[in-house]
């Protein structure tokens, strides 16, 4: 079938379908935010009027506040450690060839493909033995495992654009390997390092499975949300959810802008 009618139908189908897919993906996020301002107890139509009461209720809740603080500590700690580890792995991959490199890279990139529920049990049984379970570091340890590969991927992509002669050029001008790392590699990868910090922070901030198994009494925010979900439907969840979304959206958008800028810089060349 061709001709004008066929083209119009084809276009309508493709664009309409795409719009529906996006609607399906974004509706839960948007409705959470919208209903967090709804005065009605039950989140449904018709609209019951604008209100900030659920935010007030949530922010006054000491368990939410404590879990938020825990989450911020865990996300910050995980982001810093995971980005450091991801950076070293990305640089090692960029710079060195050695026996067993594929095993090295598999170990550095595969952990996120293991279902978090399995990692959760494994961490719980293991950390219980060495006295780490129930501590914030126990959560961070698990989060770094799944966050570091994201950091490595981002930084490795940036290193792909680094002129292979640049490091030798620095050596040639009298700069040793450590100094070259500081004065050439770090400035060059800086945008991707920041992007990695943001992405890993957001992954850790939203991680609920490992945290749920390991945290014990040290609840993080997603674990608190999980507990709320198991109770009654409550508009408070919309308010917490909106806050959680806000944090991760900001982090992911910033990360993408930073990573995108470094990709854009390559295109200019």
């Amino acid at each position: 079938m061709s001709g004008t009618l066929g083209r119009v139908l084809r276009g309508t189908f493709l664009y309409g379908w795409t719009a529906l897919v996006f609607a399906f993906v974004f509706a839960p996020i948007l409705s959470t935010v919208v209903f967090s301002f709804n005065a009605d107890r039950f989140p449904s139509l018709p609209w019951g009027g604008f209100s900030l009461q659920w935010y007030e209720a949530v922010l006054a809740d000491p368990t939410v506040r404590r879990s938020l603080v825990n989450s911020l500590i865990v996300a910050g700690g995980s982001a810093v450690i995971a980005t450091f580890i991801g950076f070293t792995a990305a640089y090692v991959d960029y710079r060195f060839r050695f026996f067993g490199k594929s095993a090295y890279m598999a170990l550095a990139s595969l952990p996120p493909t293991v279902p978090p529920v399995i990692l959760g049990v494994a961490m719980l049984t293991f950390e219980g033995r060495i006295g780490l379970s129930g501590t914030l570091f126990g959560i961070i340890a698990g989060h770094v495992v799944i966050c570091a590969p994201f950091a490595m991927a981002l930084i490795r992509m940036r290193l792909n654009d680094l002129d292979r002669d640049l490091e030798p050029a620095a050596w040639n001008l009298g700069s040793g390997p450590w100094k070259t790392l500081r004065e050439v590699i770090l400035p060059f990868t800086a945008p991707s390092i920041l992007a990695a910090l943001f992405i890993t922070a957001s992954v850790s901030f939203d991680e609920y499975m490992i945290a749920w198994f390991v945290s014990g009494l040290q609840e993080t925010l997603p674990v608190r949300v999980l507990a709320m979900l198991q109770g009654q439907v409550s508009p408070r969840i919309n308010a917490v959810g909106s806050l959680v979304f806000a944090v991760s959206v900001v982090l992911v958008v910033l990360a993408q802008i930073l990573a995108g800028r470094s990709l854009g810089a390559r295109k200019q060349k």
């Binding site: 002129d163 030798p168 009298g174 100094k179 004065e183 060059f188």
Partner: protein, 360 residues
């Protein structure tokens, strides 16, 4: 007179099974402009990188002022390199790029900036001090790369294909500028190039390499007039190479039997005597073309096949008896007086003293 600054003694570089440099022995004199030249993969760049310490020799020794250099890391040598890709730091300004080497040597910020300014002015890029390298043209980047390498005031400058990324007209300009810079600074320049016109135009001495080995070392003119072996004769271009046998002594020297007939060669090469195969080499610019036969020795009837114009000089391709191809190079003016065109029947000739022998 010439003092040896750097010695390469049986230097080799292997990567697993691949041999990049097989065996290079070479002395580089203080203050000379030496060019390492050869086809791609001949090991010239690897040799340069080993001098800079960017590659470690697998065998042999590199000495500077008589001291073994092999184990010095790259960052403790004073052998700055101008990179083919320029390798300017994209996140630093032009000025910071030029200051980089000085900073590594611990020079304080004030004098460092002053020294960098001095070199940027000298290289004509003073106006771009605060720009990013990405905002500069290829020629300007090259100047930044030169300023950056020279700012530490080294005794030696290494250049890796310094002209290959430039436009043709810039190439000629930069070539002259490198020669002037070399003369003014009086330091040693080691330049890698695959172009014999660049090497012959700039260098005091040229090292021709092939398959990881030195084929010939000498002044451009000497190499051009007396290629050391068949590879060099073919690589530098513009030579007629005619196979044949030395059959005896003639009036002008040795008698040489070739597809072109009997030729005579006034050779001063005692290693070539009657009774062996040899290659006769005659440079294209030593062959003259005449419309009429003059009855001289070394005169060959031929037909013009192609004319190749390169500015004011012309290469005339000829086909002689037995299909042997000959080439003659002459000024455009001479061509015009002869009014040559493809298909013309002419006589090519050369003096017996202009030919020399090579081993086949």
């Amino acid at each position: 007179m010439s003092v040896t600054m750097i010695e390469l003694d049986g230097v080799a570089k292997h990567y697993d099974a691949h041999v990049a440099v097989a065996d290079v022995t070479l002395g580089i004199h203080k203050g000379e402009f030496i060019a390492l030249m050869g086809p791609s993969g001949c090991g010239k760049t690897t040799t340069l990188r080993m001098i800079a310490g960017l590659d470690q020799p697998s065998a042999g020794e590199i000495r500077m002022w008589g001291r073994r250099l092999n184990d010095d890391p790259a960052w403790e040598r004073d052998t700055p390199l101008v990179w083919q890709s320029y390798a300017l730091f994209p996140f630093l300004s032009v000025q910071k790029n030029v200051e980089f080497g000085l900073k590594q040597r611990g020079m304080p910020a004030g004098p460092r900036a002053a020294k960098a300014r001095e070199w940027m002015e000298r290289m004509g890029i003073g106006a771009f001090a605060d720009r990013s390298p990405s905002q500069l043209s290829g020629g300007q980047r090259q100047r930044v790369a030169l300023a950056r390498a020279l700012a530490t005031e080294p005794e030696i400058l290494l250049l890796d294909e310094p002209l290959s990324a430039l436009d043709p007209h810039l190439k000629v300009k930069m070539q002259a500028e490198l020669v002037r810079l070399h003369r003014e600074l009086g330091i040693t320049f080691v330049c890698v190039t695959h172009s014999h016109s660049e090497a012959f135009a700039m260098a005091d001495r040229v090292v021709i390499m092939n398959e990881g080995r030195v084929q010939q070392v000498g002044a451009p003119r000497d190499i051009y007039r007396r290629a050391g072996n068949r590879f060099v004769a073919e690589f530098i271009g513009g030579n007629n190479i005619i196979p044949g046998n030395i059959i005896g002594h003639g009036a002008d020297g040795l008698a040489f039997s070739s597809p072109l007939g009997a030729l005579s060669v006034a050779s001063s090469q005692p290693e070539f005597a009657p009774g062996g195969e040899a290659l006769l080499v005659i440079s294209a610019d030593n062959i003259t073309i005449a419309a009429r036969e003059a009855g001289l020795s070394n005169e060959v009837a031929a037909e013009v096949t192609t004319l190749d114009f390169a500015g004011s000089s012309v290469t005339v391709f000829l086909e002689a008896a037995g299909g042997t191809e000959l080439r003659a190079q002459m000024p455009l003016r001479d061509l015009e007086t002869l009014s040559l065109a493809p298909g013309a029947r002419v006589f090519a000739r050369w003096a017996a003293a202009d030919g020399y022998f090579l081993r086949p």
